[in-house]
Symmetry: C2
Subunit: 189 residues, 2 copies
DNA sequence: GTCTATATCTTGATAGAC
DNA sequence: GTCTATCAAGATATAGAC
């Protein structure tokens, strides 16, 4: 039995809202997701969403984020970086909860101004800076940026656009085939 | 002086609508673009947009499309494919008119159902099938799909998200650094 | 052909009863 | 804490005058 204290009820409501909002933002993006559909999926009243998160923007900010880096890209070496980055990306989208948070941000990052800024400045720029720090030779900044572009393209094509051949491929095959591709940017020798 | 015949006036109005709509769909995507803002930018009345294109969906369909393939990916060989694909993508975004059409489709392809289907089925699947036909060895289908994923990631990161290091890079540097990356997928030897 | 006026709907957000 | 009722704004789309 669940308790019925004020706090526990409030927490259960908030969890239900967060879960429903994560799914809907991930599936349809910011604009097509409405407070009403979130409430309906959570099985609660629309006014409760406002009570808990203040605004639609507040709800989106609470839901859409890039999960922590599992692969420790910062700790990687030139040798381990390509595989580590791939395992991180694929792992994020294979973990329940993280998948929705990442997909929500990614889905809206071309159309929602805040999501665009977060994706560019907090996700991509930060990661490409970490990649850049590991590189040697010429054009390190651009090579790191292209590394990020390939990663974001992989994520979008596989998980959002769902290009059939790519969405159906196994985790292992994707890593195996993409690893030497990224290595070409890390170590062009 | 411009003529004032019925047809020429109608054509000028339609051109103005198409140009304004292309810019706005490209800049802000389907949802945030309104009939009113299109009309305002075109300097005409909102009702005229409906008169000419029937609906917002109709206007979007008339504007958002992937331009023809300049590089003749179909005619390319394994040797020329990576560079041809890159020149095609970059060329599209450097050509006025084509840029807006492509950006409009790309900008909305994660959030607008029709745009998603067009991008996946008519743009990516068709092109990856052409790439696939050129490949030898194992995993040709998946390698072609990953080729497409890298290309779409490059386009989105450079022209829509505008990752600073990538948006600022020269055409030549992007082609030079990406060409061996794509070659790794075309010819993994 | 073009525009005025408006119908109709949907949205985010608020006020207040319980 | 939760829900009913509603507001105000903005959207697409339509009807009809000129």
């Amino acid at each position: 039995m669940t308790t019925d204290s004020r706090d526990s009820r409030r927490q259960r409501t908030e969890s239900a809202i967060l879960e429903a909002a994560g799914e809907l933002f991930a599936e349809t993006g910011y604009e097509r997701t409405t407070i009403r559909t979130v409430a309906a999926r959570a099985g609660i009243d629309p006014a409760l969403v406002m009570q808990h998160f203040g605004s639609k923007e507040g709800l989106f900010a609470a839901v859409a984020r890039w999960p922590d880096d599992h692969s420790r890209v910062l700790d990687a070496s030139v040798e381990t970086l390509p595989r580590a980055a791939l395992e991180d990306l694929l792992g994020t989208f294979e973990a329940h909860g993280e998948r929705e948070a990442a997909a929500a941000l990614m889905r809206s990052c071309l159309t929602h101004p805040t999501a665009t800024a977060v994706m560019r400045d907090e996700v991509m720029c930060e990661r490409t800076a970490a990649v850049e720090a590991l590189l040697d030779g010429q054009d390190v900044e651009l090579r790191a940026a292209l590394f990020g572009a390939c990663m974001i393209g992989l994520g979008m094509a596989r998980y959002l656009i769902e290009l059939p051949a790519l969405a159906a491929a196994s985790h292992e095959d994707v890593v195996r085939l993409m690893e030497p591709v990224l290595r070409q940017l890390v170590d062009p020798a």
